[in-house]
């Protein structure tokens, strides 16, 4: 109990004094997870729309793969990406091992399927008559898909939030491909692990609080965007 209190005190101190290590870890987390989420939205929503609205042979197989992707164990993904980005691996020329791009890659693999899958379901649930109406108004396939994506925006906001949640709290893959380099790839989660194994519980607590605060802030903003009252 004393440890927890000590930890909380230490946390407050580091936050208030804008401790360098804490700030670095927080901004690193936001940068990599923010990028990964942004990319998974940019790639995932169009792919999800294609999947949800399209009819093509093998569609069910693709859906199964996407659903499997939603449950990938992060540490396994990390190992897979590490093997890719090691110098001895096929992407070795990029020299991404122990860098942020490697973490973004791993997190994109983790968040992407979630965004794709939830988008596909959201668009599949759209009123088929609405699709016919849009086509009848002269919409091309792309125009239609874009309009329907906008109609489903509440669900897609949830999908994006789910993607973000999956990666901001992720440690296994980030550690394996990012190497926890101080000031660069030492993100909140990997920093917490390191500080804990060094016995620096105060720092670990501070980082944990910030991580919680970050997740909460993002959720709060997203919920507000979803739920704000519509003009009557």
């Amino acid at each position: 109990m004393e440890l927890i209190v000590q930890g909380i005190v230490e946390a407050a101190r580091r936050i208030v004094t804008l401790d360098r290590d804490v700030l670095d870890a927080a901004s690193a987390s936001l940068a990599v997870s923010g990028t990964a989420t942004a990319l998974s939205i940019a790639i995932g929503i169009p792919l999800g729309a294609l999947l949800g609205l399209g009819r093509f042979p093998g569609r069910n197989a693709v859906l199964s793969v996407v659903n499997t992707g939603m449950g990938l164990p992060p540490v396994a993904v990390g190992l897979f990406v590490a093997v890719l980005v090691w110098r001895s691996g096929p992407l070795g020329g990029l020299d991404w091992y122990c860098t942020r791009p490697a973490i973004v890659m791993a997190q994109l693999i983790l968040a992407g399927p979630t965004v794709i899958g939830l988008t596909a379901v959201a668009l599949q649930s759209v009123d088929p008559m609405l699709r016919t109406q849009l086509t009848s108004l002269g919409a091309t396939g792309v125009q239609s898909a874009w309009l329907l994506v906008r109609e489903s925006r509440l669900l897609l906001i949830s999908a994006a939030l789910a993607g973000f949640g999956a990666v901001i709290s992720e440690i296994g893959a980030s550690l394996m491909v990012g190497c926890n380099v101080k000031g660069d790839t030492r993100i909140l989660t990997t920093a917490i692990a390191l500080e804990t194994s060094k016995g620096e519980f105060g720092t670990a607590f501070a980082l944990a609080f910030i991580l919680l605060a970050l997740v909460f802030a993002v959720s709060a903003v997203t919920t507000w965007a979803q739920q704000r009252p519509r003009p009557l």
């Binding site: 009123d127 009848s136 009557l232």
Partner: protein
């Protein structure tokens, strides 16, 4: 007037079954064609095929040219469905949607959409969210959205079916006015006979996916092509009339040279309604004097047709009138073609329909 849309040997196959089969169908420009039939007849399927929203086999020509580029065709027409199918945005943005999809500049879009909303009487709703509207208001937005693009053909798929009676009547009147003013070529799918009569110049009767009759509206009702059509449309005498006077208890109308009195009230503001009398309600007698019916006319029997247990008598009373009598009565009265008899019906029986089309 030329045929703006023609279909030949048009077939639609769904789930391995042939659902619609039309040998020939033509739509005249600036006219309204109603596709009339019971539920399940394939009316919506036919409309979707004509609007290039469903794959079909056969020939469809638009202004004489086969429809090859479906997208280009769709951008020259507009469709209104039974449900409004609006997007979660403002009424104005919904009305502008068709124009936006066609790449029309935003200033132009705004004014054309505003104009369309005004014509449908809902300009005051422009900034409201489309999701909070009543059924009638929402359907007006859908119609405004369609006419805003100035379509060369307007397709309407049972647009009033989901509305209650007063809303429906008001909307039909407003829509008819808009169509008339802008001379929009229209295809209206409906199962409601009164709607078809009110709005359409010509009616195509669709039963079980086949086109059974395509004719001027009154002729379909006065002369159904076969018993099945007759059974569906409900044979009626449909007489164009003119309101002469309206008293507290009776409406007096002029049909051809004759005056007819009915208890029915004419639709508001309509001086040229359609007078509908069922042949079963017309009584034939040889003696003009002894009946309580307010409406008695001398008429010459043009044709006598036995149909089942009845005889169908076509009369010329200065206007065409069809009566149904029993075989026995026809025999008792010794009716024969060329005879002059008295045809009468009570004032309480006919009903009046608004005539929403060119006189």
């Amino acid at each position: 007037m030329s045929a703006i849309l023609e279909a030949r040997e048009l077939r639609v196959v769904r789930g391995g079954r042939e659902v619609v089969r039309i040998e020939a169908l033509a739509l005249e420009e600036a006219s309204t064609l109603a596709i009339l039939g019971p539920n399940g007849a394939g009316k919506t399927t036919l409309l979707l095929a004509l609007a290039a929203l469903l794959p079909s086999v056969g020939e469809v020509r638009f202004r004489g040219m086969p429809v090859v580029d479906a997208l280009a065709f769709r951008r020259r027409v507009a469709v209104v469905f039974q449900r409004p199918l609006l997007l979660d945005r403002s009424v104005r943005e919904n009305a502008e949607l068709g124009l936006a999809l066609r790449g029309v500049a935003s200033q132009v879009r705004r004014s054309r959409a505003a104009d369309a909303l005004a014509r449908l009487g809902i300009a005051h709703l422009a900034e409201r969210s489309a999701l909070g509207l009543s059924g009638g208001e929402a359907q007006r937005v859908s119609i405004a959205r369609a006419i805003a693009v100035d379509p060369e053909i307007l397709f309407l798929d049972e647009p009033f079916a989901a509305l209650d009676a007063p809303t429906r009547e008001a909307l039909i009147a407003d829509l008819a006015r808009v169509l008339r003013t802008r001379r929009v070529t229209t295809v209206l799918v409906t199962h409601d006979r009164d709607e078809a009569l009110s709005l359409a110049d010509r009616i195509a009767v669709l039963l079980a996916g086949r086109l059974r009759q395509l004719d001027l509206a009154e002729r379909v009702f006065a002369n159904p092509a076969d018993p099945e059509v007759a059974a569906f449309v409900g044979v009626e005498n449909v007489l164009p009339a003119r309101v002469e006077s309206i008293a507290a208890d009776l409406t007096t109308l002029r049909v051809a040279d004759q005056l007819i009195e009915v208890t029915a009230e004419p639709p508001a503001g309509d001086d040229f309604p359609l007078l509908c009398v069922r042949p079963d309600d017309v009584v034939i007698s040889r003696d003009p004097s002894t009946t309580s019916a307010r409406n008695s006319f001398a008429g010459t029997i043009v044709r006598l047709e036995p149909i089942g247990r009845r005889v169908r008598i076509v009369l010329d009373c200065g206007f065409p009138l069809v009566a149904n009598v029993t075989i026995r009565s026809a025999r008792d009265l010794a009716l024969a073609e060329g005879d002059v008899v008295t045809a009468s019906f009570k004032a309480t029986l006919p009903h009046l329909l608004a005539r929403h089309r060119a006189a």
